[in-house]
Subunit: 463 residues, 2 copies
């Protein structure tokens, strides 16, 4: 629901962009929400941009009329990041879905923001290349950059922060800037690339990305191992990382998560604390990495080592991991997922998870835990019926305590989902009024009319 009328904006957009502007109810509903628990809100109109100029035209008109603009990709975000809470225009870039250039020599690619992760990797594969960031969902790359996403391979390859080399961005006044050259490194001026990565559409709209890519490894081997306790698994992972052993993925599932996965995905994994791993390299180097990892983990009590290089088996394993939230949701009637996303220094990860598990029991909540353990990031997959108000309240209180716990351990409220509308209050708890004040100063300077995704990241940004 919009708090102001934007009919003249819509008229002007129609004159400039014709059929690309829609006020169809179904279209507006599709753009009213993401995959999160947060309330849906309708935009007044949807603009389907097909090029950077469409985006610039939209922003110029909206800026003049002070109409909110929220960029929209695949709608897979988890904190209401793309929900138009003040109405206005949902600027859909999903039709800007071309990969514009791939360079095998420079190991980079240039693409439009609506390209999705799986589509990108299918195209890159024909060149022997891949893009590693894997948040699970088949998100758009523009959305992944705007959210500062990461995922299961971040322990080896880094997050979007590390792999976005340059962005073309339309600023709120409709100017088009490119944040960096295509050279692998630069120290030329302020790092605008990183300012826009993770800015969740509050400073401008990304219309082109240049990303680092990697050669597809000769060998990709997956492996699993079970542990007598959470702490033994985490201690093992800490040591693997200390030794610099090349793990490409190292994911933790607690026994509840394994049990949910087994039921949902027809897998037969041991229902204990489990590590799912992947190794990338040559036949020789992966053999060395696997042997070293196994040795370290067995010393920490790991057992039942199983390994596969079969692609179908490997894909099934990771699909099962990615389907954890669906698996958990299927266990509770009318459930929606509420994803927590704290990340702590790895030395505190066992403490944080153990205290959280005890809190789950005390709170009478069912919350399997999955973790990007190499990064210290874990999710409690809470499945709650939104109509069950006592349970929703218990969940919200549990979540507040979880964030407090993570912050007390020098952690963050969000490792990879962003602040969106769901974690605005925690941002101040995490970084303090002064640091958030610096963010607000930047926001106000670059978007003086407050049109870009108002109400996200920083409170009170609908001026």
């Amino acid at each position: 629901m919009s708090i102001v009328s934007h009919s003249s904006t819509i008229d002007e957009l129609r004159q400039a962009l014709g059929d690309k502007v829609s006020v169809n109810q179904t279209m507006r509903e599709h753009h009213s929400k993401d995959e999160s628990f947060h309330l849906a809100t309708l935009p007044d109109a949807v603009v389907y941009a097909t090029c950077t100029e469409d985006v610039a035209t939209t922003l110029k008109i909206c800026n003049k009329n002070r109409t909110p603009v929220v960029a929209f990709g695949a709608g897979t975000s988890l904190e209401g990041n793309s929900t138009p809470i003040y109405g206005g225009v949902s600027l859909d870039v999903s039709q800007m879905d071309k990969v514009l250039r791939i360079s095998q020599e420079d190991l980079d690619c240039t693409l439009q923001p609506g390209v999705r992760r799986k589509q990108l990797n299918e195209i890159l594969a024909t060149h022997g290349l891949f893009f590693p960031v894997d948040p699970g969902a088949d998100a758009t790359l523009g959305g992944m950059a705007a959210t500062g996403a990461s995922g299961t391979t971040t322990v080896k390859y880094g997050a979007m922060k590390q792999l976005v080399m340059s962005l073309t961005v339309v600023t709120p006044n409709g100017e088009v800037i490119t944040t960096s050259r295509r050279a692998r490194k630069t120290s030329a001026g302020y790092d605008l690339t990183h300012l826009f990565v993770g800015s969740e559409g509050t400073l401008g709209v990304i219309t082109e990305l240049n990303l680092r890519v990697f050669g597809i490894p000769e060998v990709i081997a997956a492996a699993t191992m079970q542990f007598p306790s959470l702490r033994s698994a985490v201690d093992g992972v800490i040591e693997v990382i200390q030794y610099g052993i090349g793990v490409a993925r190292i994911e933790l599932l607690d026994s509840d998560a394994v049990s949910a996965v087994n039921k949902y995905s027809d897998t037969n994994l041991p229902e204990q604390t489990l590590l799912l791993m992947e190794f990338h390299g040559s036949a020789e180097s992966t053999a060395i990495d696997i042997a070293a990892t196994r040795e370290v983990l067995e010393r920490h009590g790991g057992s039942g080592f199983v390994q596969t290089t079969d692609e179908a088996e490997r894909r099934k394993l990771w699909q099962a991991r990615h389907d954890t939230s669906l698996a958990c949701r299927s266990l509770v009637k009318n459930a929606k997922n509420f994803a927590t996303d704290v990340c702590v220094p790895i030395s505190r990860l066992s403490d944080c998870i153990e205290e959280t598990q005890a809190d789950l029991v005390a709170s009478q909540l069912f919350g399997p835990i999955i973790g990007h353990v190499g990064d210290g990031n874990f999710h409690v997959v809470l499945s709650v019926d939104p109509e069950d108000h006592p349970m929703v309240e218990r969940m919200e209180q549990f979540h507040s305590r979880l964030v407090e716990r993570a912050l007390a351990m020098e952690g963050t409220c969000t490792g990879e989902h962003g602040i969106g509308m769901g974690k605005i209050d925690y941002l101040v708890d995490e970084l303090g009024n002064e640091a958030v004040g610096v963010m607000a100063t930047i926001k106000k300077a670059l978007d003086p009319n407050g049109i870009m995704n108002p109400g996200k990241i920083i409170a009170g940004t609908f001026f």
Copy 2:
């Protein structure tokens, strides 16, 4: 020379900070320049800060009085980055030189900005750890972060941009902010860490850094190989990187550079295009990496493979590489070094270097070339007598053409030295008025009185 009088500022600083404020001529001269060709300019006073509060006190007083403040570490920058061109206060943080915390489990360390690179690595070594960024000079870590420095190991470990996890910064109004928590990753709000990395003291003063560190590898092996041509060496490196072979350093020297190094450092390297390499890992993994690298490079015409794991030999080799600029300077009477720093996509590196070599000949300039070839970054080490005005003019024209050439190849004017006062005009050529306009908007919003290192990065920033 200051353009305004700052005597009342100095009085106030003395009242607040006592003996930490100096107007001694020798001290002021020491803070008037860096290691570059650029003209020296005296600050009106030097403040020796010993803690974050001293920095905050200094900024508050200077901001009130609109007195310029330029942070100063080791003075090893190469673009006049720390030269107080409008006078005011040189804020020396070199006495803030404590390592505050080292975590083996989290592989990070927290330190004050005046800690120098070699000092840090001596301390880290007692914990079995090291910090890889190696720009050659024994710079302070605060200066390296502010400059966005990188160096010979960036091909494997990344630049300061990748390895600074969080910063404590004093903003121009004297507020103290910490840009991020100590968790390994976060997507909480705007990436202030990266905004300050590379901002060259124009937005605030860094008073604490949290850095990623790594375990010292079991084996460190250095190797050299010579090539019949520059292009054959670069093509070989491109293939090594495409295959994802783990090289920790891969540095190119042209024959002029090798010859200068041999004379200066008493080495006996073959005076041809040369690659200097280093491999980090276990005994097994480095053996695999070395064999794979050698095979690829031999296929591209590389020969004379020599390898050593002896620490003294290895150190001598890298010291010789780092002394290239001294070596070149020693060949020209009364010479000063003028360092170029372009960086291009690696696919264009051979073209860029070959055209540059031809231009050197046409310009009657002596300029050995050394390159961080894995990153596409190279330096022409120009040694010029500043009193030889015709040569200085030829050098300046050559440098303009070099930057134009790099920009035409999608490169940057500076891979690692920063913009400082030397490359301000090129920044606009590189990124355009609109992108530099966004930088200027941020600068003006965060430093409305323009006190922070005025005249650097963005033209006209002494408001």
